[in-house]
């Protein structure tokens, strides 16, 4: 093979040895997605083969030399019905199968650990509930469902992890979610796949999947001193939210204890489930989300809190299951000594996830 240019030869060898059709399957979802992918691929290949075979054989059998006079055929309802119904049936199978997978990707399980991701031109900022910040990287453990709550602070971005087969747009002004469960430790690509301006192609990062043990080590080593909920608590205090949202009988706002996940009656009629998106909206556009029995007097915080700040507040409210802390913020005007007194080791419960309420309990 000397006559082939060594460059091209190396090139081909490199390609043949590294050839892959799909990225590694590193999440629980990936094999399911790939099964559907290969099903559609199979159908496509059969369809293509049928067309190519027919065209080729007709070209050979009925070329002018062999078949000088064409026979006029009007059509055949039976045949046409066949190639209407068979593709339709196959497409419907794909639709149902695809819809089921779509369900799965965008329906996080109840025990998922929530991590917040803020996209901005041109970086990904990740906020772990334990207070760890990351930029253009995401550390996660295997074997635990992870839910991402995404938002963008400027333009559309898209959080894509090919190895997990998931991708979700980060939208300005609204939370979106996606979840996955990593299975294989390793480092995988993180791409922004929605064109977002000049450095779109540099808005990339690493997804680092660790074993649960390594993950615990990483959490401990990269803490920033205060959990996300504690940051939220400070913000809650400095914005004087507790002036209204308290348990006093004359409180002007509803108590926020155990409000997360509850079904709230709205002043405009109807009810709403207080999820992350609702909490965010209620902070930024309060007058549209007034709960029954309260006057629409809450000021808007639009433009006053950064997206990270809103996330911290949401995380704080999510973890409130008693009014004790709110009373504390009422009594103290400054920083809370308790939260500063915490040692990194005390952060450990955060690993259990935000749903294990009581993280901020004294």
């Amino acid at each position: 093979m000397d006559h082939i240019s060594p460059v091209i030869w190396q090139f081909l060898v490199k390609w043949m040895t590294n050839f892959a059709l799909l990225p590694p399957e590193a999440s629980k979802l990936a094999p399911q997605m790939d099964a559907l992918y290969f099903f559609i691929l199979l159908v496509s290949l059969i369809g293509l083969t049928v067309v190519v075979l027919l065209v080729t054989s007709f070209s050979i059998l009925y070329n002018k030399k062999r078949h000088p006079v064409a026979e006029q055929i009007e059509g055949s309802t039976l045949l046409e019905a066949t190639w209407t119904i068979i593709p339709l049936g196959l497409f419907l199978v794909m639709f149902v199968w695809g819809a089921l997978i779509y369900f799965r990707v965008f329906t996080p399980p109840a025990n998922a650990m929530n991590i917040y991701v803020v996209g901005k031109q041109w970086m990904w900022k990740v906020e772990h509930p334990g207070g760890q910040h990351e930029i253009n990287a995401l550390h996660i453990p295997t074997g635990k469902p992870i839910q991402l709550t995404l938002i963008s602070q400027d333009v559309f971005h898209s959080f894509s992890i090919p190895a997990f087969r998931v991708k979700r747009e980060a939208i300005p002004g609204r939370y979106t979610t996606v979840w996955f469960e990593a299975t294989v430790p390793g480092t995988y690509h993180l791409f922004c796949t929605q064109y977002c301006g000049t450095n779109h192609s540099q808005m990339i990062g690493d997804i680092v999947v660790l074993t649960p043990e390594d993950y615990r080590k990483w959490l401990a080593s990269s803490t920033s001193g205060a959990s996300l909920a504690q940051n939220g608590e400070r913000l809650f205090a400095s914005l004087s939210c507790a002036a209204c949202h308290n348990t006093r009988p004359d409180a002007r706002g509803p108590s926020l204890a155990s409000v997360y996940g509850a079904r709230l009656p709205l002043a405009t009629g109807g009810t709403v489930i207080a999820d992350d998106a609702y909490l965010r909206e209620a902070i930024l556009n309060p007058s549209q989300h007034v709960t029954q029995g309260y006057a629409p007097i809450m000021p808007t915080y639009q433009g006053q809190i950064s997206e990270e700040g809103v996330i911290a507040l949401v995380e704080y409210i999510k973890n409130l299951n008693s009014d004790y802390r709110i009373q504390q913020t009422l009594n103290t005007t400054d920083m809370l000594p308790e939260s500063e007194g915490r040692t990194p080791g005390a952060q450990a419960p955060a690993v259990k996830g935000p749903v294990s309420k009581g993280t901020v309990k004294p």
């Binding site: 930024l284 007058s287 549209q288 007097i297 809450m298 000021p299 808007t300």
Partner: protein, 253 residues
């Protein structure tokens, strides 16, 4: 021309009938004046379809935001003057009527009548735009033009504003008051697009009056007047909806 039972249009009747000599306005590629009138009329209708879809985008936006920010839309709507709006609706309906009468005059070859109707339509059209200008200038004075020093005063403090006070508006929360800007964006976009169509229409009307006095439309060739009539009525229809959607939100409050 051989007779065929499946002719798509009455091409040969005409050639057999009176119009042995082609009238001057028959363009070379048509077989008959009927075909020409049919084709241009149909083309006008298709053009109106594109206009429907053009406004369709705006109506979609309107419906979405009205559902989202209903209180802001109510407060914004209360800033509009129903009397001016109603007057304008009546003016436009009258102009539509005079236009229809103009078409009838052209069809029945009444030259004086046609010129009179067109001039009336022209004047009514200008009247509409005049009233619109008054309304717009009021909005400009109150800084209700989105993007240009937009002021929330009328919505945060309705007592300071005559229109809001008259409607008995309660003060809006700041976040909702901000969304009145969306209402006024749509208000200016929709009425502005409509006014743009009016201006174009009035321009063509002026040209038509000029031509009608020379007797151009009263010698059997009425397609232009008819097609312009379609356009003018379409603009009227858009306004009928704009009036209901923009001016008449929850006036009873």
């Amino acid at each position: 021309m051989p007779d065929s039972p499946v002719i798509a249009h009455g091409a040969d009747e005409v050639t057999d009938n009176a119009h042995e000599e082609h009238p001057s306005y028959l363009r070379h590629h048509f077989e008959s004046t009927e075909q020409q009138a049919d084709a241009t009329g149909f083309a006008m209708w298709l053009f109106l379809l594109t206009e429907v879809m053009f406004f369709g985008g705006l109506f979609t936006a309107y419906l979405i935001y009205r559902n989202w920010y209903y209180p802001a839309f109510v407060a914004g709507s209360h800033q509009l003057n129903v009397i001016w709006g109603t007057t304008n609706t009546v003016v436009l309906i009258l102009s539509s009527f005079t236009m229809a009468m103009g078409v009838w005059c052209a069809e029945t070859r009444r030259k004086q009548g046609l010129v009179f109707c067109l001039i009336l339509t022209f004047v009514l059209g200008l009247g509409f735009l005049g009233i619109k200008t008054v309304e717009y200038s009021e909005k400009i004075e109150k800084h209700h033009v989105p993007g240009l020093h937009y002021s929330l005063k009328s919505f945060l403090d309705p007592d300071s504003d005559a229109a809001a006070k008259a409607a008995g508006d309660k003060p809006l929360a700041l976040d909702m008051a901000r969304h009145t800007e969306v209402y006024f964006s749509l208000y200016f976009l929709m009425t502005g697009m409509h006014a743009l169509h009016m201006i174009i229409g009035i321009g063509i009307l002026g040209f038509m009056i000029f031509r009608a006095r020379a007797g151009a439309y009263t010698s059997g060739h009425v397609t232009f007047v008819e097609n312009f009539g379609l356009y003018w009525h379409f603009v009227d229809i858009i306004w009928i909806y704009l009036f209901a959607l923009l001016y008449l939100i929850s006036r009873h409050q």
